[in-house]
């Protein structure tokens, strides 16, 4: 455990050092401007402390972000509109809906592509093209269309945007996984006179599981990004994405950075949970621990 933690902590330490240096450098402009306007001069030693506690720093130093994050998480009731737990939960809910939708869609498409050759030729290129369109351009359109169709809730379009990003890794991995059984394994089932569906349930599907779980980690992160992008367009008031946008629009970098880190923590937790589920599944499938 200690051997694993050390390199990670070392990198973290380096990042914090660089971050502080960058914060001093970027925030110093404001300090020097203030001094010039007041007709005084500040030495380097006087400048540094003043870059650490500004209200609207260009780049907030780590401790300010940490304090804001703590205030957002523990400083208020979780039902408050200023609570990051509240906004985080909204984003989490959207992510889960998009994630589930993406898995269903991705697996269904992979199954039909492996089963029908015509699907591979017709659908696969479009699936790849779909991922080249910038989601930030597409998100407002999906919101507008959903609105036109009389869907008032933002949950549905958010889930669609999220699924749009998360289905792809699942699709690609599942196509590969469902095709992973080799000729010998397929021949073996042929000697039993097994039907196509038996081959699918008894061989292709279980053989694809390692590929499936590997894709889930990518897919859950993609679903989170999709949800946050879905929360960005104007009008959103809930979710970490909306929180970031508010911070940016009202010139409150601390709010933005706190929301950013809340999103990163959420992403870490999601990947952790997927990892635990994967471990459980692997153990059930007899993989050595």
């Amino acid at each position: 455990m200690r051997e694993k933690a050390l390199p990670v902590l070392a990198v973290l330490g380096i990042i914090v050092v660089i971050w502080y240096a960058a914060a001093v450098w970027m925030n110093s402009t404001w300090v020097y401007d203030q001094a010039e306007r007041a007709g005084t001069t500040v030495s380097f030693a006087e400048m540094v402390p003043q870059t650490m506690a500004q209200d609207r720093p260009l780049l907030p130093p780590p401790h300010q972000v940490a304090a804001e994050l703590w205030k957002g998480i523990a400083g208020q009731a979780v039902t408050s509109k200023r609570s990051l737990v509240y906004h985080g939960f909204v984003t989490f809910r959207g992510t889960m809906m998009g994630f589930a939708l993406g898995i269903v869609f991705g697996v269904a498409m992979a199954v039909s592509i492996v089963r029908f050759r015509v699907m591979e030729m017709s659908v696969m290129p479009w699936a790849i093209i779909s991922q080249t369109i910038p989601i930030v351009a597409l998100a407002p359109m999906i919101l507008t269309v959903a609105n036109q169709m009389g869907i008032d809730s933002r949950e549905v379009p958010k889930a669609i945007i999220s699924a749009y990003l998360s289905f792809f890794p699942v699709l690609v991995s599942m196509v590969k996984g469902l095709r992973s059984p080799d000729a010998m394994q397929l021949d073996l089932l042929k000697t039993y006179n097994a039907s196509e569906s038996e081959t699918f349930w008894k061989l292709r599907l279980p053989a694809s599981m390692p590929y499936f779980f590997a894709s889930l980690k990518v897919a859950v992160a993609a679903a989170l990004i999709g949800t946050i992008v879905g929360e960005l367009p104007t009008g959103a008031i809930e979710g970490l994405g909306a929180r970031m946008l508010i911070g940016s629009q009202f010139g409150e970098p601390l709010i933005m950075w706190a929301a950013l880190f809340a999103a990163a923590i959420l992403a870490g937790m999601l990947i952790l949970v997927v990892g635990v589920v994967e471990q459980m599944a692997r153990r059930r499938m007899g993989v050595p621990a």
Binding site: M184, Q185, D187, L188, L189, K190, T191, Y192, N193, A194, E198, K202, L203, P206, A207, M209, M285, G286, V287, P288
Partner: protein, 266 residues
């Protein structure tokens, strides 16, 4: 079916069998004019260099390949029909056990597909595990077993549904000689107790001579039979029979047959 067919009746009959694969480099003659009769209870080995069609012939019997000419019957019907009647169990070069199933689960695979009841499955799994001397290993996963044990489990899987014919395609090719000797002995014992007809592909001369009642020597390009040797060795075969004069004579004849088939190339 076992009762109606007597020992010695033909089980596999090939007449003028031809198989040509169409490849990008033109047609490949994998089997040319193969005539062979395998009788009930025979232990037939197919031996020859790679490309001689020994595996292809076995795959034709299993209806995994389809001949382009001639006739082939298994138990008196077409190979496809015979497969539908579960006439044979097939053992591949690699054990090919599903890593996500236990040994018992792997043996249950054909039984599930063929619709045996749960109770019958359990009973059969116990029986075949005993037959291949893997009693007590049912709950283990394949990775917990050695290569030889895995191949034994795959033989058990092929035996589980009581097919009359056992087709084995270089089953011990990837194992070391010590394990191979032991498994050869076990296969002979298995053959004696079950009375199955066995088709066995190999490229080891001692293995072929030790195991078989009939040795089919094949040669490549085009794949054809150059010699069929009916072994005079007794049914009871201790390992040291391999030092006997008879054994060495048969091995010599097999080697001659292989060399003759290669004459135009070497």
């Amino acid at each position: 079916m076992k009762d109606t067919l007597t020992v010695g009746a033909p089980v596999i009959e090939a007449k003028g069998l031809n198989l040509t694969f169409q490849t990008g480099d033109g047609p490949v003659h994998a089997l040319k004019d193969v005539n062979l009769t395998v009788n009930r209870g025979d232990f037939v080995s197919f031996i020859g260099p790679s490309g001689c069609g020994k595996t292809t012939f076995l795959r034709c019997v299993a209806a995994l390949e389809h001949p382009t000419g001639g006739s082939l019957t298994v138990n008196g019907v077409s190979p496809d029909e015979a497969r539908r009647k579960r006439a044979y169990g097939y053992v591949f070069q690699a054990a090919g056990l599903y890593p996500w199933r236990t040994i018992a689960g792997n043996i249950a695979l054909p039984l599930e597909i063929m619709g045996f009841s749960k109770a019958e499955q359990a009973e059969r799994i116990e029986r075949v595990l005993d037959l291949v001397e893997l009693k007590g290993f049912g709950k283990k996963f394949p990775w917990q077993l050695s290569g030889g044990m895995q191949q034994r489990a795959s033989i058990a899987r092929a035996l589980a549904f009581d097919a009359d014919i056992l087709l084995m395609d270089e089953p011990f090719g990837a194992l070391d000689e010590i394990v191979r000797d032991r498994l050869n002995e076990e296969v002979l014992k298995l053959w004696a107790t079950t009375g199955k007809t066995i088709g066995f592909v190999t490229h080891s001369i001692p293995e072929a001579v030790y195991l078989s009642t009939k040795i089919v020597v094949m040669s490549p390009r085009p794949g054809r039979i150059t010699d069929v040797i009916d072994s005079p060795l007794p049914k009871e075969r201790p390992l040291d029979i391999r030092d006997s004069r008879e054994f060495i004579e048969i091995a010599h004849r097999v080697r001659e047959g292989l060399r003759a088939g290669h004459g135009d190339e070497v």
